[in-house]
């Protein structure tokens, strides 16, 4: 890591840190860096920055580094960190807010997970429910791994666990409008 000038970092990251604090409801300054979040985090082994480090970076104004990190996409939202934080700070909510900001800023470090989520929501927006077969096919095509998990498809079909056609709800036009309205309301509020 390069040396960092903390005075300028604090000033440069101020707006983004404020947004993340408002969206998550977490005051990052209250974190006293005990590391309990990272000790319990089941995905910390694969992260570039552990949850404790993400909290520290936000304290230091290194907000852009956090929204470019892989850690925020790898977070499984298991909430172990939030349940164990002795300051009741809910790092999982910080991760959630960082993901939303990363998407807005166009930084999606981990394409696979971002793509999976996007395909998932697109399926909900058009059908009202998730169409799992369509989700997996769309995800595999987008990430160029057409045969991933294809081996289980025949037995899933035989077991009645995979449907070939989506189940569409009557109110899917409402669901579609909900996506548009939620997007607009959050954009107006930022």
């Amino acid at each position: 890591m390069q040396p960092i000038n903390l005075t300028s970092a604090l000033a440069a990251g101020k707006d983004l840190v404020a947004k993340v604090q408002t969206a998550s409801g977490v005051d990052v300054k209250a974190c006293y860096q005990c590391g309990k979040c990272s000790a319990g985090c089941p995905v910390a082994f694969a992260m570039d920055y552990t949850p404790r480090q993400v909290m520290r970076m936000l304290q230091l104004g290194l907000a852009e580094e956090t929204i470019k990190s892989r850690a925020i996409w790898l977070c499984a939202q298991c909430e172990t960190c939030s349940a164990r934080c002795p300051r009741s700070l809910e790092p999982a909510k910080v991760m959630e807010a960082l993901r939303i900001e990363a998407k807005r800023a166009g930084f999606e470090a981990d394409d696979e997970i971002a793509t999976f989520n996007e395909k998932f929501l697109r399926s909900v927006a058009s059908n009202g429910r998730v169409f799992e077969a369509g989700l997996i096919v769309g995800y595999n095509m987008a990430t160029v791994q057409p045969l991933k998990d294809a081996g289980v498809a025949p037995s899933m079909l035989a077991k009645g666990k995979l449907k070939l056609f989506p189940s569409k709800i009557r109110g899917r036009d409402v669901i579609n409008r909900m996506f548009t309205k939620a997007e607009k309301m959050e954009a107006d509020n930022k």
């Binding site: 909430e79 807010a97 997970i113 666990k161 995979l162 709800i169």
Partner: protein, 288 residues
């Protein structure tokens, strides 16, 4: 006792056994379920980590419909339960959020109808005493590890049991005549969508849980989440083939074991649809 039923997307596809066994248990215990008409997906983790309001509005629409039915909701899926409970708490605690959610969903949800997991409805509301009085057979000492995962027990204020040492399913196993195995990975995360979206990372998480269950000498693992189920059941084959694993641990939904103990035929509640065969363990404990 009557609830609005929210099966959620998984129970109509990959978690079909959970639906079959939940309906069977409800019938045995006289819990009337009325499906929420035209329910939509709760958005799961993808929803709230993409847009905070959308993550509240998707489950709130279902709660609003249930409110019209005049019923509380029963949601068996851990993620659906968690998202609905989050929306319920958010709307109840803030008139501002209630108004925003109403604008998005085009329906006002006042917070009068709440949500309960299937664990709460069957094991707390109906209760173990009534269940014990209705048992047709018992698990004969089957060694079962209760696996709760994340979203049923966390975060604080949303979870339906202790976040570190939940006991709801352990108590059920004991009540059904099984041995609730003490093991340290009751609430360890299975990776949720990571075994699909980032298989190297996700499969390691599944591997660790299965390995701990193996070391703990279990006959089976019991869960109450359709995604945990898929990860633990379907991915054993992946781990055995690609990562040199040697797993053969049957996974059950808690409702499958409950339905069987209440006298339902195992085939009727979906245990033949699992990837890891359940025949041997059911045979061993005379539960065919």
């Amino acid at each position: 006792m009557k609830y609005a039923y929210y099966p959620g997307c998984s129970l109509h596809s990959t978690g079909i056994e959970y639906n079959m066994s939940t309906l069977a248990v409800a019938k045995k215990l006289n819990v009337e379920l009325e499906e929420i008409p035209d329910w939509n997906c709760c958005g799961a983790s993808a929803g709230h980590t993409t847009n905070h309001l959308l993550g509240l509005a998707l489950p709130a629409r279902n709660l609003a419909i249930a409110e019209k039915q005049g019923l509380d909701v029963m949601a068996p899926c851990a993620s659906c339960y968690n998202r609905m409970k989050t929306a319920e708490v958010a709307v109840k605690s803030s008139p501002e959020i209630r108004a925003k959610v109403a604008e998005i969903t085009e329906m006002d949800y006042a917070g009068n109808s709440g949500v309960k997991s299937a664990l709460e409805v069957f094991l707390k509301e109906v209760g173990l005493e009534k269940i014990k009085a209705s048992l047709v057979r018992n698990l004969g000492g089957m060694k079962v590890a209760a696996y709760y995962g994340c979203l049923l027990v966390r975060p604080n204020g949303i979870g339906m049991d202790d976040p570190e040492d939940p006991m709801t399913m352990d108590d059920m196993i004991t009540a059904l005549g099984g041995e609730a195995v003490q093991w340290p990975f009751k609430t360890e995360c299975c990776g949720a969508s990571l075994p699909t979206a980032r298989s190297k990372v996700g499969l390691k998480m599944v591997n660790d849980i299965l390995q701990m269950a193996d070391i703990s000498g279990v006959d089976a693992i019991v869960t109450a989440c359709p995604l945990c189920f898929v990860n633990l059941d379907m991915r054993q084959n992946d781990l055995n083939k690609k990562a040199g694993g040697n797993f053969n641990i049957p996974i059950f939904y808690f409702t499958e074991l409950l339905a069987i103990a209440l006298g339902e035929k195992p085939g009727k509640v979906g245990v033949k649809k699992h990837f890891v065969s359940t025949a041997q363990v059911l045979d061993k404990y005379n539960l065919k």
